[in-house]
Every structure is written in structure tokens, then in C-alpha cells.
Symmetry: C2
Subunit: 336 residues, 2 copies
Amino acid sequence: MKIVVDAMGSDRHPQPDVEGAVQAAREYGVEIVLVGNRDVVEPELAKHNLSGINVSLVHASQIIEMKEHPAAAVKSKKDASMVVAMQMLKRGEVDAFVSAGNSGGVLASALFYLGRIQGVKRPALSSVFPTRKGPCFLLDLGANTDCKPEYLLQFAIMGSVYAERVLGIANPRVAIVSNGEEEGKGNMLVQETYPLLKASGLNFIGNAEGKDIPAGFADVIVTDGFTGNVIVKLTEGVAGFLLDIIKEEIKSRPLATVGALLAKGAFDQVKKRLDYREYGGGPLLGVDGIVIVAHGRSDSLAIKNAIRVAKQAVERGMLHAIRNDIAQSLSRFAEE
Amino acid sequence: MKIVVDAMGSDRHPQPDVEGAVQAAREYGVEIVLVGNRDVVEPELAKHNLSGINVSLVHASQIIEMKEHPAAAVKSKKDASMVVAMQMLKRGEVDAFVSAGNSGGVLASALFYLGRIQGVKRPALSSVFPTRKGPCFLLDLGANTDCKPEYLLQFAIMGSVYAERVLGIANPRVAIVSNGEEEGKGNMLVQETYPLLKASGLNFIGNAEGKDIPAGFADVIVTDGFTGNVIVKLTEGVAGFLLDIIKEEIKSRPLATVGALLAKGAFDQVKKRLDYREYGGGPLLGVDGIVIVAHGRSDSLAIKNAIRVAKQAVERGMLHAIRNDIAQSLSRFAEE
């Protein structure tokens, strides 16, 4: 299996991207193609022992920066690392693509070069979200700020396929984010999507309120990209705020400092349980290729794990399964 | 000053509602009228020493339950505690109303009996949100699941008035929830509201991402009621989840238990800093009367503090200020 990695993706590129790729090549036995500016990537690669693993470099002179307008940048920068990598995926030279770069840029270049899976209206950004009962798969996280009910139905189908096939969750419970538990609660979009989800043949269990998400209420939770983006960033913000004020309060007490030292192992374990890096990255679902989007703040562990996610998606036939289930859904709703 | 309190509001009514009212009467020197079923409220009142304070009871035979459809319940239950109380406020017999009951019911009865302040398109539910830099005022929290740009502009005006007048924040910074920092980011609603806020004369500082909210980025944050509801409930859920797993991890380590004992004071202080009860309740802004909505889970401390909020809103001329600022805004945008 051959996976192409954007060497210029993460905020601190190319160090984490290259290191994570080298580690993944060794640990998972995958072949890695790094794409990026050889002037900075080659010296980074030279720091690693590459014997016995297959890591190569394809030069790309440009970068799409985090602050650039994605669609415009993808059009104008034909030699950007993510554009070059996406074209390799399109030509079938690699099996999957991993990038921690500008997610809008990855989305725009995937739409431009790969296109959508037949029948898919809109692709969705996704991620695994830690909950009290284990991982929950959340989408869309920002690819589509304004959605139609049909898009959310398709996000639910794709999310369910991913949870079952790649995450290994049998008959995943699917919910939709709403502002109340009962059927009938929600904005117009949610109220119109609800009956589609009920009739979808998915294991739809209803509305998830904000408090239900970290409680592990469902395995797959769908929402529009605006709300999904707010959910993910708010969760990061609240967790960071809470851990900070706990530390602050502990530091302000002499005896509690001793306590904090003793409790350190527990805190470290909590951080590990909440660590987005364990999941590495989330698939860009609905485009005609396996594309994994990692966090801009990724370190080498996150990049390595994102490559593991890509490998699993390839091995477990994610694309084929989505293609099938979307086609089935289209014929189901066409018949009615 | 005379404040009417829904004795049948909170989940564990009438105990917290009555106790909080009695405490408020003593601590803040306000006159309290409790409204509720005399068969349960009288025995509860009898547990307290009422000498030197002014607490009376008005009988109301019905209750609007948490699970009832608000508008239908308000129409059919003419003798519900919140309906009777709202009518007293309308008739000017009291200065403000506090309820921890069904917030949709409070909204429906306020709209039906008080009506809106002239020029206000939609009332908004609001609350103070704890942040790294002190309180932030967030609205709408669920009164309007689908909003127009004009509504959000008015929420910003009312929120700004409240923050300045009642919370005492000079020239409050106003932001709008979005899925990106830059102008131009957001769903259609946010993109259309942005220029209105820029032209509003408010101290508008731009988009607030999810992570910015607990960071204390702004003093007033506006959003539609769907997103606002998700934000408040998700924050509760994430904070609860995090504190639970910290406790879990600490308990699973023998030495850390000692640590936890030593750190207990710090944890208690953290909880206090995050405690919604400190703020008591948030005003229902835009209706023609001072109505404070408290959390259904309120205990007597939360009820007492909600009554303090009501008192401050009366003393500081909240209604008059909102009336003025809404009228000014209408003429400003009409002139252009």
C-alpha cells in the first residue's frame, strides 16, 4: 500500500509531517511518498534512519497557507504540495492521501481533482470525538456551512459506513444534533431531516442535545458544518479552560501542589483519553478517493496515526462501501 | 420593590423556589409574591422564619410541566403558576418575574401577556457564561431556532444594553458565533448579519469561534437559538465529562487518592468558578417586562441569585434602556 503525505501540511511543517510519515512507514509497513519543497524536506528526511522502509520524496515548490482562500489558492498554485499529492491520488499512483494543511484547501483540491462519489451531493469533513463511552464519529465539521436535509441524510449514511467498516462499530447508532430531545425539536433543517433519517434504514436513534454528545449517546452524530465546527472548537476551548483553571487553583494552594504531584499520573491519563492525536485525523467523506485530514496542530504522533487511519480505510474498502450505500439510498428514496 | 416568583418552577419545586425566595427577601430587602398551589407551598413556607420580611402567597392550581408543549399549555392552563404570575407583572402589581419553569412556557406566556417592546422582532433567552476573563453574556439560547439577520442585530443591541447596564461592563465588546475568525466566514445568516453589526454603532469585534467563547474573547456573544442552545448544553456536558474522568482516574490510583484529598479545595474552587448558580438566571430580553429565567435544576441559591438579577434589572432601568436603544437602531437603519 502506498500513501502520499503532504510534507508541508502541519503548522510546524515539515518536521512533524516527515517524522510521522517515517514512523508510520516503519510501524505499519506502508510505502510513503512525501510531497513538498525538497530544500526543506530533504534535510528533515536526512535526520531519520530510512533503512528497511520505503519513503520517497516528490518535489512541489508551493504551499497553501492556513490563511489563504482555499478555492482561489488551489486554482492559482498548481505546484502546491496538496495539489500535487491530490493529482497523484487521482492518477491512481497512491492509495490514499494524508494532509494536516488548510482543510478548505484539501476540500477544494479534492473536489477539483477527485470529484465526488456518484450520487453524493456534498462531501463532509469528519472526526472522531472522545466521549464517556468511547469514540463518536462527528460530521460535518465545516465543509458545508449551509446544508439541505438531503446532505445531512448522506452524511449519516457515509458516517455510518465509516463507523461500521473502519471503526468496527456494529450497527452504529446515528443521531442528529438538535436543541431538544423530542422529535419535532430543532431548527427547520433538523425538523426536515428527521423523517429522512427515520426512513433511511440506518440505526437512527433521534436527536442529540449538546450535553448528549460527550455522554456517548450515539456512535455517529450528524450536523451542518457550521454547528459541527462550533462543537469541535468549543469542546477544545472548554476542555482547555477547565484544565487550566484546575492547574491555576492547585498552584495557588501549597498543600495542593503536593496533591498535584501525586495526581499527575491521573491528569496525564485524562489528557491521553481526550487526545485528538490518538485518532490522527478524519476522512473527507464523499470525494472519490481516500483523503484524511489531520489537525493543523498535529505533531508526529498525530501524523503517524492519521496514516494508520488512511491505511485502515483502504484495507477495509471504505470507498466501495460508501459508493454502495449511497446508491442504495438513492434508489430507496427514488422508489418512494 | 416587589418580585413575583414561580413557586412551581424548578425541577424540585416548591422547596428550592420557596427557600430561595425567602432568602432573597431577607438578603436583598425585596418584597416577594410566591405563586403556586397553596396545598404544597404553604407547608413549605411554614418551615421558614418570615418575621421581618415580606413574603406572600397567591394561589394557582395548575403547573406547566417541563415536557409540555409551551404555547398549547399556556393557552389551556389559565391557572398555571407562570400564567398567573405573568398577568400580575402585566397589570403592574409587581416589578419583575422569576421562574425556573419550562422556559418555552415562560416565553410563550410573556409573548401572550406582556408582548414585545416596541420595535423588537423577537425576544431572546440569555445567560451569563463563565470564561477565562470573567462573565460573558450569551444569547439567544433557544427562543428562536431559525433567525434572520435583523433578529441577531437586535439580540446584539439588547445584550449590549444588558451587559452595560446590569452587568456593569463599560462599552461591552460584541461578537457573533462563527466557524472562522475572518470576516466572510460563517453560514449565510452570519455573513448577512456581519455588516449590520459593523454598522450598528455597537463595539462589534467580529466573529467568535467555538474556542473563543470560553476564552473570554467578548463580553456579549450573539447567535441563533439553535446554536446557542447547543453551546450551553455542550459546555455543561464537556465540563461534567472532564471532571468525571479526572475523578475516575484519580480514584484508580492509590497515591493519587491522597493527592485528590489534598487538591480538594482546588476542585471545589473550580466548581464554584463554573457554577451557573452564581448568576442565578438570565433575562428574557425583548419582552415588555422584566422576566428572569432560571435553570430547571436550580437550587435555593440559584433562585436567590436569580431574584438578585431581577432586582438589579429593575433598579438599573433595563427596560427603558432597551426601549431607547432599539428605537435608535430602528431610526439609524431607516435613515440609511
